[in-house]
Point group: C2
């Protein structure tokens, strides 16, 4: 049962951490667990399920939160969590992240402390999200600071969208081996194509996007020319986190919630759901979309109409 601890980066992408980046451990753990089951034929056999373990985050020795995670990239998860919760504005505020799986702890050491950490983590909202189903209340109030590129400069063609879906379909994954995880990938959009930069899976989909946020922060990668793919629903949290990272386009295999739809519409983000095998629904932000309609149904219509 080989662990797959690395983020799977395509060979073309060899990112270099930004100047002043924090020191990170590279804690490793098993990503799969073998269990015995009985099936409908009465057969006893072994299958793999994804690992899941608690990671308690301490910031300057103060306990902040316990995340339940697959454990693929815990240091990037912690960095991204702090960024997405706006507890830090840049990775340079962090001196080091030290993960020790023996005790299930991530020790974050900041350079100058986190101002008002008590007050800023006091307000609790329980959301629809998988995994990181909590956002501290003040994140909601910071949406006015979101800056997305306009619809002319950040858009996606139907052909590019279809190629993204095909890339995801072919992607090797924990999900394929063991189910029960959500995946999230970051794509760089180019005029005629797209390139997958990074792909993360976790037991909670918000851990996956937080890990990507950590990766983007560590390598100084901006969001304006990017699109997210997620296997999870397009919830308000997913939209908000994507917006905070400056990524204006999200594609999901799954559906949308009303708050996710409303937030994306207000922010001018493009949301694509039920996306697989050349099918999709564009729920919001159609002004960012260059439709290249599939011919099949149109042909049938001419015949029947």
């Amino acid at each position: 049962m080989p662990p797959l601890p690395e983020l799977r980066l395509p060979p073309a992408v060899a990112p270099v951490p930004v100047a002043g980046a924090p020191r990170l451990t590279q804690a490793r753990c098993e990503l799969l667990r073998e269990i015995r089951i009985v099936d409908e034929y009465g057969e006893h056999r072994s299958i793999h399920i994804p690992a899941e373990r608690p990671l308690t985050v301490f910031v300057d020795k103060r306990e902040l939160v316990t995340l339940m995670t697959l454990g693929q990239c815990p240091e990037l998860l912690v960095l991204g969590y702090l960024l997405n919760q706006r507890l830090i504005a840049s990775v340079q505020e962090v001196e080091s992240v030290t993960v020790d799986w023996d005790v299930g702890a991530a020790a974050v050491r900041t350079r100058h402390g986190v101002a008002d950490i008590e007050a800023r983590t006091a307000h609790r909202v329980v959301t629809t999200g998988c995994g990181q189903g909590t956002v501290f209340g003040d994140v909601m109030s910071q949406l006015h600071s979101v800056q997305l590129p306009d619809a002319q400069s950040a858009r996606i063609r139907q052909g590019t969208l279809n190629r993204m879906l095909e890339t995801m379909r072919q992607q090797d994954s924990i999900h394929r081996k063991a189910g029960s995880v959500h995946g999230c990938a970051l794509f760089r959009l180019q005029p005629q194509t797209s390139e997958m930069l990074v792909f993360v899976e976790d037991v909670g989909r918000h851990n996956a996007i937080d890990t990507i946020a950590g990766w983007m922060g560590l390598h100084g990668v901006g969001g304006a020319d990017k699109a997210f793919y997620t296997t999870g629903r397009l919830t308000s949290e997913m939209v908000m986190k994507s917006a905070q990272l400056g990524v204006p386009i999200i594609v999901s295999r799954n559906g949308v919630t009303a708050m996710g739809h409303e937030l994306a519409s207000r922010l001018g983000m493009a949301l694509f759901g039920r996306a697989a095998n050349r099918h999709f629904l564009c729920y919001a932000g159609a002004e960012r979309f260059d439709s290249e309609p599939e011919p099949e149904r149109a042909a049938v219509r001419v015949v029947s109409g």
Copy 2:
């Protein structure tokens, strides 16, 4: 677009609230929202998505938490949330739950206050769950109080399991109309059959089970002879909440997480996943299961072996 605000109870079930039950409003809201989309054929059309709205819970005028919910049965959701978080031990501790959708608030009035509410809600754990992805820390430490019936007295036959799955397959639902919600149902197990008592959907699956917990508490319904069906993954939270309600068997269309598996194994609960169309995997608690193997594969084996 007719709202479906009631819990859909089969006619045989006409539960009566327990003596001393709280007064509950019956707040109503739209459960579906209509949005415009563009599909892969370039066609603009309308579809329905589930509603999702914040509900801020105040206990004796003190703000406790904001839940994101579909809004089907907010009063039962709030009751069940308080029970599952062990902030109350019985519904009789609550005098009234007043939900006002105009302000998105649920005002809970208790008879004698909630002891140590500050301290008991201070510890935050972010979990893998959908929806109610937060459990206050001390819930974890209360597992020793869980009492489940033994494997001889609470078990399930494969035929009964298959009929549960068939009932769920035929169930009318928000999911069928609009996708993007999780469903949870409570079944009463009898020697040769099972009876669906209540079915709830919500944008977060933990809201759905909390609502059922509220319904059980309000009507004094115990868990020992029951089974849960859920569309969501079998996470540790799902297992824990089921155990707290005394329900020893859970069936899911979805898979299992490692913590859900571990917890169920320790508690002696039966977990069935990937359950649909007569297929399933029994992940844990096979001692509660009366296997009646499907003949088809066995027959093929005899031929081939």
